[in-house]
């Protein structure tokens, strides 16, 4: 029983990171119709910014974290303004190709600036494991899971009560109507990218001590895309449930089936979900005038 609990808890920590990545993708897609394939690369860049301030400049964790978030917000706004805003009316495939190009550019830029080798990121919390009722976690696991859950709650509150959050929801529902109501759609696009930057930036920096920092680490977060699809790509709740579900199922599959097959299991689950519910777990219905 304890073994199962340990697996589930570890899967939940993993799933929390997937969910945060997926949430950012869904938030962007709902507001702007852009599928951000470069989501993992934003995570990577945030980790590198954090590494630069923490290791090269020798600053403590908090200012390094805050400044890294600032930099990733700036980078995200630059991507939105320069790469995506000109394609605002383009078909979805054009945007996908554009974000793929952003992915390649960011990876190459990271290799150029920091080199191809991986770096160790100093831990921000003790690496000594905690033992909670027989379940072993590190302080970093608790930080990652706790931050993921807090962000999910904050996102919910933000979209429900904050003026900007309501504006984003309005733009997601109907851009024209929102514009007629005096909401600046372009400003909302920028806010959405800033919000995503905060989400992925946090995850990148929190995970860096565990994974190291390297130019291809963004590929690890392709699971965020899988989770977003599982959840329906329009549902925040779907991303959260999908993320935790994928993390737990992967970990259990790795133990009970095969550790080398767990990635295959992820994609099999995705396919099964889409067979049963083609629009995803919690997809909102979309109506189009014909």
């Amino acid at each position: 029983m304890l073994r199962l609990a340990q697996l589930i808890v570890d899967g939940t920590v993993l799933g929390g990171t997937y969910a945060i990545c997926a949430l950012g993708m869904v938030v962007i897609f709902k507001a702007t119709d852009v599928i951000n394939i470069a989501q993992g690369e934003l995570v990577m860049m945030a980790a590198f910014f954090g590494f630069t301030f923490r290791v090269y400049f020798g600053w403590s964790f908090t200012p390094s974290f805050l400044l890294a978030i600032g930099f990733i917000i700036f980078l995200s706004l630059a991507i939105e303004r320069l790469a995506l805003r000109p394609l605002i009316k383009a078909p979805i495939w054009t945007n996908i190709i554009t974000t793929m190009a952003v992915l390649i550019i960011l990876q190459a830029a990271a290799r150029l600036i920091w080199g191809p080798e991986p770096y160790a990121f100093p831990p921000y919390l003790s690496r000594m494991p905690l033992n909670i009722a027989g379940i072993r976690l590190t302080h970093q696991d608790v930080a990652i899971l706790g931050t993921s859950i807090i962000y999910m709650i904050l996102l919910f509150l933000f979209f429900k009560y904050a003026r900007i959050g309501k504006g984003m929801r309005a733009v997601q529902m109907d851009k024209e109507a929102a514009s007629l109501m005096g909401i600046s759609v372009r400003k909302m696009y920028s806010y959405v990218w800033m919000l995503n930057a905060i989400l992925v930036g946090t995850i990148g920096i929190l995970l860096a001590p565990r994974l190291g920092v390297y130019s291809t680490m963004g590929l690890l977060f392709i699971k965020g895309f899988v989770v977003a699809v599982m959840g329906g790509f329009t549902s925040l709740a779907g991303s959260i449930v999908g993320g935790f579900l994928l993390g737990v199922v992967e970990t259990l599959a790795g133990f009970y089936i095969s550790s080398t097959m767990k990635d295959i299991v992820s994609f099999i689950i995705l396919i099964l979900i889409l067979i049963v519910k083609p629009t995803g777990l919690f997809a909102e219905s979309v109506t189009k005038r014909v």
Partner: protein
């Protein structure tokens, strides 16, 4: 008028063809001019084995730049073009073809992942171009002998695998042995050779765990290991993956004696794994540690590396040093091949190396029947604060 124009066009084409023929005759040996030798080099500069790839490049380039500053080899400077093979066979083939066909290099150097080298072998044999590697340890690279492949540095993988297995069984005399390996060719080869040795000794491993290169979560494997509680786990993993795994092992309370293969013996593993790496044991290909600066050649290597690449935590590493050493062997062969350099002469020069002592690693000897230059391997233990010590264990794999 039209006919005259056609005639003139035809003459122009013929003259161009004759001219280009004349131009190609001017370069007798690809990659060799009166003042340059062009060398193509490979390393995984992206992918899960980047740490070793960067060390391959930086360690070798340190030595090449050093000899260029001293005037080069027989009056020629070495110009090295590095290509990324990503530890992927298809990329390795593409990189080798580009170096040979487009860049027209004289010889090839480097490589870390044997799968990429072996995939490119048909191209190398067709072009009759020599390839020297310090890192690629797969036995088929030199057994049976391939006319154009040479290796001096890491021992062949089967010997490495037997060494760590023997350490567990005959030196530490443990009963419960586990194996943790990657699912790629390198990891599978390691596993198979460890199992072969254990079968000879009538020892059944209590666990065999596998992971994919690039994995970041090892909970399932470590949970299974915890249940069987091995005394020793023999691991064959790349540096990044092993560093993440060993931290998770500590968290989950999985604490066997870890004995690792070549990659984890390099300094970046300890830097990335932190205190979780303390007490782990790994293969080490040198007589000396990088901290043995009382040894002139180690001091020289560190000085040159610091000057040209710079020092940082974990660098220079064993990987840097093994490729620095490899570059020394390569340069010595180039020197012996003489001023009238040809590819055949380079092959003969390599085969003429007998007890060539770089003063860093065991002396190198090649012959027509032996294209692996040096045997002999040590074990190193990682101590607190990233210190390390050579173990006083002499293990003969066979």
């Amino acid at each position: 008028m039209k006919e005259i124009k056609r005639f003139m066009l035809g003459m122009l084409i013929i003259l161009c063809l004759i001219g280009s023929q004349g131009t190609s005759d001017a370069i007798e040996v690809p990659g060799v001019t009166k003042d340059t030798i062009l060398v193509g080099a490979l390393a995984p500069l992206t992918g899960p084995n980047t740490t070793s790839g960067v060390a391959c490049r930086d360690g070798a380039q340190t030595y090449f730049d050093m000899i260029n500053d001293a005037g080069g080899i027989n009056g020629r400077k070495l110009k090295v073009i590095w290509e990324d093979d990503g530890c992927v066979p298809a990329k390795g083939v593409a990189a080798v073809k580009k170096l040979i066909e487009r860049d027209k290099v004289f010889a090839l150097f480097g490589g870390v992942c044997s799968n990429a080298l072996l995939a490119a072998l048909p191209v190398v044999e067709k072009e009759k171009i020599l390839w020297f590697t310090a890192n690629c340890s797969s036995p088929p690279i030199t057994k049976p002998v391939k006319p154009f492949l040479f290796r001096a540095g890491w021992n062949p993988t089967d010997m490495q695998a037997r060494t760590i297995a023997k350490a567990g069984v005959e030196y530490f005399k443990v009963k419960k042995i586990g194996i943790f390996h990657m699912s790629d060719e390198y990891g599978v080869y390691y596993r198979d050779n460890i199992k072969k040795y254990l079968e000879e000794k009538n020892v059944q491993p209590v666990a065999i765990e596998t992971c994919n290169p690039g994995d970041v979560d090892f909970t399932s494997q470590l949970t299974r290991l915890k249940e069987v509680d091995p005394d020793v786990v023999l691991m064959a993993m790349w540096i990044q993956d092993a560093a993440v795994m060993i931290q998770q092992a500590k968290k989950l309370g999985v604490n066997p004696l870890w004995i690792g293969a070549g990659p984890t013996g390099e300094e970046p593993f300890a830097v990335m794994a932190g205190e979780a790496a303390v007490g782990t044991i790994h293969l080490w290909p040198f007589k000396y540690l990088l901290t043995d600066t009382h040894v002139p050649m180690v001091a020289k290597f560190r000085e040159e590396f610091k000057k040209r690449i710079g020092e940082k935590p974990g660098r220079p590493s064993g990987g840097d040093m093994i490729n620095y050493n490899g570059a020394m062997v390569f340069a010595e062969a180039l020197k012996r091949a003489g001023k009238n350099l040809t590819r055949d002469k380079l092959v003969s020069a390599f085969e003429s190396l007998k007890n060539f002592d770089s003063l860093l690693a065991t002396p190198v000897t090649f012959s027509k029947d032996e294209h692996h230059g040096n045997y002999g391997i040590n074990l190193v233990v990682i101590l607190p604060k990233l210190q390390r010590a050579l173990l006083d264990i002499k293990i003969k794999p066979y």
